[in-house]
């Protein structure tokens, strides 16, 4: 790599770190302020939850232990320092370091989100390809059904879909368990499907739109004129064009997955960040909520970096060398 290349890489790393820092600090601040303005005394989280009838000495002791007797701005600075040092402090309610708690909960959510994302992409691509390449009367009818299915899937509320899946596949057919068992892949099936189906519907529409566009582009015609089979045209040309817009919308997918994870984790009784967030918010366990949101925000930054890399891999036009020539 040339000197300018090294400089460019260093600049990129700095920029990314700067972005991460901004996002983390801003989200942590927003969450801290929101929770502290929300009403509900965090000290109750220490004393066994809201509605505590602990005596005044107990309350004072707890306040002192967790620094809740400091002025709010000092508490904020402490919180911010904790975030920036990735120490994150201790949970008020659970009395363990937030980082331990998050380390324990993150994998479950990550596995759920990633398997769902993978499944959603598989479904979306399969449906888009089937719907686009369908031939004949029957095929076109099937394609129409698939398109309608995509549309409906994209608007299914997670909680309802999950509930229906549980009733059908857990309590009626006994195919898959409704709840999570550590280390059991089968217990991942229903939550994954619940998360994946609406996302697949959304991605599928995007992919299909751009696939149809790419299939009618001149380069596809040219490829066919070279004797390329439909499979080859799809595999070597159009599919790559088709996934690009959906990949760019990964920020949206991220939000959808994380929001869905909150619902799915509660519904299926799975451990995970989403459920942790809900529970911690209810009891005003500020360090846990801040920590969880910061982790989510960092995950988002990581995701955008991955997406950028993916876009570069998929679309060489974005690479520096070509961009120079194209711009000139």
């Amino acid at each position: 790599m040339s000197g300018s290349g090294v400089r460019a890489a260093a600049g990129w790393v700095l920029r990314t770190l700067g972005r991460a820092l901004t996002v983390v600090v801003v989200t942590a601040t927003v969450v801290f302020l929101a929770l502290r303005l929300a009403g509900g005394d965090p000290v109750e989280a220490v004393l066994g939850g809201p509605g505590s009838q602990a005596g005044p000495e107990a309350v004072a002791a707890a306040r002192a232990q967790y620094g809740l007797d400091l002025p709010l701005w000092q508490q904020y600075l402490v919180q911010l320092r904790n975030v920036l040092t990735l120490d994150l402090g201790d949970s008020y309610a659970r009395r363990v370091p937030v980082s331990d708690l998050l380390t324990a909960q993150l994998p479950a959510t990550a596995v759920l989100a990633l398997t769902s994302l993978a499944l959603a992409w598989v479904i979306a691509l399969a449906v888009a390809v089937l719907a686009t390449t369908a031939r004949g009367r029957l095929g076109r009818a099937a394609a129409r059904v698939l398109r309608g299915g995509e549309l409906v899937a994209s608007v299914l509320p997670h909680f309802w879909l999950g509930a229906v899946l549980i009733v059908v596949f857990a309590s009626t057919l006994h195919w898959f368990p409704a709840t999570s068992t550590p280390g059991s892949p089968a217990s991942l099936v229903l939550p994954t499907v619940t998360l994946a189906v609406p996302l697949a519907g959304f991605l599928g529409q995007l992919v299909r739109d751009s696939l149809e566009e790419a299939e009618s582009a001149p380069f596809a015609t040219t490829a066919r004129a070279r004797g390329a089979s439909p499979t080859r045209v799809l595999g070597r040309h159009t599919l790559r064009h088709a996934v690009l817009p959906a990949v760019s919308l990964s920020g949206w997918a991220f939000g959808s997955l994380l929001s869905g994870a909150v619902v799915v984790e509660v519904l299926f009784g799975r451990p995970g960040l989403g459920r942790l967030l809900v529970d911690a918010t209810l009891v005003r366990d500020v360090p846990v909520v801040v920590g969880a949101v910061v982790v989510v925000a960092l995950a988002y930054v990581v995701l955008t970096v991955v997406v950028e890399a993916l876009e570069l891999a998929l679309d060489p036009r974005r690479r520096a060398g070509d961009a120079l020539v194209a711009a000139a």
Binding site: V23, L258, V263, L277, V278, V301
Partner: protein, 270 residues
């Protein structure tokens, strides 16, 4: 608009018809379902669908059909409000980023990123803890959560329009910048949002419904669809029909709005 309709596929026409029916439900629900959506009859609870009760009755003996019809106002209302909030915020961000100097564009990119990094559910949870119960927090959360997406679309549209041939032509025709903005940039940048908006309302309806699962939805006894769907969900094994009405209402409405939005997008100025 007339030109837009000419480009409609049969599917888009069906979607348009559904939306029109929904609008009737909003404007004059009594025409379709004359009953009182909150009138209880505990002794007639959990009745399966029949001619008298097309969607059955719920746990309090209320007619689910009547509630679904009367719920259109609040359900579509929240979708619309959330989308309006999202679009309003997006317009500020999008135009500022699209027309402003580089540092402003970069700053707004950060704001958008932060909004993206806070998933809808998390935003909603936080807002509900701050603002208290009711739909207002959900609406605001969904509005905020959808804003970054709109803002990004708008920013690139504004950029695109601002560098377009007709804006350049207008400048060379001697048109003042403010007039260029109001006459050319704003209408052309906002036009594609009609499609996105339509689509967004449908999505917002679904989001708000999703929030009711966490108890962040409409206040009882409002027949908001998401709240109904969540209330009916717990009886899925014993009274499945409770979710059919609101479930259909949500999916059909959102699907129709999505289809319509996509149709607008296709025939509109692409």
């Amino acid at each position: 608009m007339r030109r837009a309709l000419r480009g409609f596929t049969p599917g888009a026409w069906v979607a348009l018809a559904v939306v029109v029916v929904m609008l009737v439900m909003v404007v004059a629900p009594g025409l379709i379902a004359p009953g009182d959506p909150t009138a209880i009859a505990p002794r007639e609870a959990f009745e399966p669908p029949s001619l008298a009760h097309p969607f059955g009755t719920d746990e309090s003996g209320r007619d689910v059909w009547t509630r679904v019809v009367h719920g259109a106002v609040s359900s579509l209302g929240v979708g619309l409000q959330a989308t309006v909030i999202g679009v309003a915020l997006a317009m500020v961000l999008g135009f500022a980023a699209g027309l402003g100097p580089r540092w402003l564009d970069a700053g707004i990119a950060r704001v958008v990123e932060v909004l993206y990094a806070l998933p809808t559910m998390v935003l909603a949870l936080l807002l509900v803890t701050v603002r208290g119960p009711g739909l207002a927090a959900s609406v605001l959360a969904v509005g905020l959560a959808t804003a970054p997406g709109y803002a990004r679309i708008l920013r690139s549209r504004v950029r695109g329009v601002a560098t377009s041939g007709y804006v350049a032509a207008a400048r060379l025709d001697g048109l003042a910048p403010a007039r260029v903005l109001t006459r050319h940039i704003a209408p052309n940048a906002l036009w594609p949002l009609v499609a996105v908006l339509t689509l967004g309302i449908g999505q917002a309806v679904v989001w708000v419904a999703g929030l009711s699962f966490l108890g962040l939805g409409a206040l009882p006894p409002s027949p908001e669809w998401g709240a109904m769907l969540n209330a009916g969900r717990v009886y899925l094994t014993t009274a499945w029909w409770l979710t059919v009405g609101p479930g259909l209402a949500i999916t059909v409405t959102a699907a129709a709005l999505t289809a319509l939005g996509r149709a607008f997008g296709r025939v509109g100025v692409a």
